[in-house]
């Protein structure tokens, strides 16, 4: 067995962390612990993004997803964490159904993943000496409409020189509208006498 | 404005309610019947020529000689006096009002004497009257929330009364 291929060791570490904490989110009952495990799981996923060579997306995941969305989620947890909602046990029946469905889905997906021979992984020689060049700028230019990563590609293979300028604009306006709407929606309009909650 | 004219003005307005006055003292005072105290105070505050809008202090004095020898010689009967010190911001003159109360209501020991509260005439009287209630045991009728202000809530007795005995112990702390 020749020398260990280190990047795959790191892949195992980050993968194990991501899956382990995802499972922990599933299994733990305390909502605050679930939130904390989710943070660790998404941070491990950002590590996987770095490993796959996407530095920009990894940093973006850390900044927006973990730093923004999950802080929002934790604020939601804090605002609604009355004593009776923190530890809510799920019924045993739901667990069994969930386990069966989940197991079936998981085995199906992994079987599919390993069915295609190309997906099993490149030869070590081909990958080992690939240069690690920065890819933040191609993403930036891609968002602005110039697909700089396809300059060398032959004419017919070039899938549309146009980048992602149009979707980029749509998403930014969409995000603005959604956030304003959510802020307005969150202004509670509480009935002076709450509905009979039984 | 000089005291005598003020006394006459009040007597002419309230008649019997003004029970007396002492003008020789360093601070001349006017005695008022306890029932009419609120009416007199409101009048004193609202009358433009008097305009006593500032109430310096509401306090009480306990007249009781504890040992019999002095009690025999004293020229006054045991009683409680509620003393109001008033001041006018516009005319810059001051006045002392007194109301005489029996030490205990219809002389049963333990029943607190009552007088109307002037807390709604001057807001500062609210706390002053609470202090009088706390230290002298005078019940102010109509007071927004009459409870002890300086002593602990569950303190027994009213310390500034002449016949007050320090409790033997309070929550395990030796008193005497």
């Amino acid at each position: 067995m020749d020398a260990i291929y280190w990047p795959s060791v790191f892949f195992l570490i980050f993968g194990a962390l991501a899956c382990g904490f995802a499972l922990a989110v599933l299994l733990s009952a305390n909502i605050v612990r679930m939130a904390f495990y989710l943070v660790l799981s998404l941070a491990a996923t950002s590590g996987l993004f770095f490993l796959a060579g996407q530095e920009f997306v990894g940093a973006m995941q850390l900044l927006i997803y973990v730093g923004g969305t999950l802080v929002l989620l934790i604020f939601g947890v804090m605002l609604t964490s009355q004593e009776r909602f923190v530890n809510m046990k799920t019924l045993a029946g739901d667990w069994v159904i969930g386990m069966i469905a989940g197991g079936a889905l998981l085995s199906l997906l992994t079987a599919a993943a390993f069915s295609v021979p190309e997906w099993r992984g490149p030869e070590r020689a081909a990958v080992e000496n690939l240069p690690i060049e920065p890819n933040a700028t191609p993403i930036g230019m891609g968002l602005l409409g110039a697909r700089v990563d396809q300059i060398g590609a032959p004419a017919d293979e070039r899938a549309g020189m146009a980048g992602y300028l149009f979707p980029f604009e749509i998403v930014s306006v969409h995000l603005l509208v959604v956030l304003i709407g959510a802020a307005y929606l969150a202004r509670a309009k509480r009935r002076s006498n709450p509905l009979p909650t039984g | 404005m000089s005291e005598p004219t003020l006394v006459d003005q009040l007597k002419q307005k309230f008649g019997a309610a003004i029970t007396g006055a002492n003008l020789e003292n360093v601070d001349p005072w006017i005695e008022v019947a306890p029932e009419a105290i609120v009416a007199v105070c409101a009048y004193l505050r609202d009358e433009p020529s008097l305009a006593f809008d500032y109430c310096n202090s509401v306090t009480a004095v306990d007249y009781l000689h504890v040992d019999e020898k002095k009690a025999a010689k004293s020229e006054w009967q045991p009683h409680l006096e509620v003393v109001y010190h008033l001041f006018s911001m516009q005319h810059k003159h001051s006045l002392v009002l007194k109301a005489m109360l029996a030490r205990w209501r219809d002389d049963e020991v333990g029943e607190l004497p009552e007088i109307d509260s002037v807390a709604h005439v001057w807001r500062t009287a609210d706390w002053h009257e609470r202090e009088c209630y706390d230290l002298f045991g005078i019940h102010f009728l109509g007071h927004p929330n009459l409870r002890r202000i300086l002593c602990p809530e569950d303190w027994v007795g009213h310390p500034l009364r002449k016949d007050y005995e320090m409790p033997l112990e309070y929550h395990g702390i030796r008193g005497r």
């Binding site: 202004r187 | 809008d53 500032y54 310096n56």
Partner: protein, 400 residues
Amino acid sequence: MSTVDDPRTIEFDVRTDEMLVNMGPQHPSTHGVLRLVLRTDGEVVSEVTPHLGYLHRCAEKIGENLTPRQFIPYTDRMDYLAGMNMNLGWALAIEKLMKYEPPEKGRHLRVIISEMGRIASHLVGMGAYGLDLGTFSPFLYAFRERERILDLFEEVCGARLTYSYITVGGATADLPPGWLEKCEAFLTQLEPIIVEYHTLLTTNSIFIKRTAAIGVMSAATAIDYGTSGPVLRGSGVDHDLRRDGEEIYTAMYDGYAFEVIVEKNGHYPKDHQYPAVPQEAILGDCWHRFYVRMLEVMQSIDLVRQGIDRYSRASGSYGEPMKLNQKLPKGEAYLETEAPRGQMGFYIVSNGEAIPWRARARSSSFCNLSVASELCRDCLIADVPAIVGSLDIVMGEIDR
């Protein structure tokens, strides 16, 4: 667009439930042992109820067992930051009862000492207020200056906090030789430092943001709640006992040129020399109360200077103290003096013996604090220390 047609729904931000929160008595920001119970709804304070009595020693009961001169040390411990002014108040009340007229030199000595006490007390008030708003350095600068005053007082009467120096009839001792020059030197070096305090706090934009238009008290409320001193003058009421007080107290100050520090139609006396009032500040807010105290320090410096040269020109005794067990005339007397925190009143009833029948102390901070619950309604939690700090209360005086 709240649902107007459906009145049953109440529109507000995030639903937070009421919380009873305790601030004090061991809270670092309240001055001494004051316990404030805040009913808060999220950040907004809906109601503040102060709880007093943690420092209650019932000094008034003790007053009924001691002769006037023996009671002097108890008056020191009421407003322990301005001991001299408390002694002066009690001494004057007894002298009013005895119709005693202190000699002219004693009068000037009392003006010098009481105004120096006012400077020391305002310095503490300014430093502690900076502490409430989160800045630590002004507190230490203020105490550095106060230390110099305490050294001067130590030379005069041997004590630094509980002086018992001014007593019935005059003072326990005359000013030591060379003291006036030291006092003059202290005043000259204090003036530029006060200008420095102005830049540090009064005109500091964050300080203005934290104090301007917060805890606004109208003149009517100020009078109705019986507030006095800088708190009253901060709301624009032109009332100072050193000018409008009783004859025996204003006699001390006659011949002294001074103006009452209060904002009349937008201007403070001689305010051209000091930083201007920022436009956010409304008359009667925390900023004005603080500004009045700072200007009063300058006023006191001027008064002490006048007192020094009148004292040096006056001749005769400094006022021998009254004999220890001198019989008090029958009758009663009530006198209020302008203490740094407000009008400190003493009411003495005597029936001819050496020991007074009743000795009542009317405390200024007691009435000033009663306004706190009115001012703190619907303010933010961070404003409560700012408002209570601006009232500059001392618990020793409130609880007596």
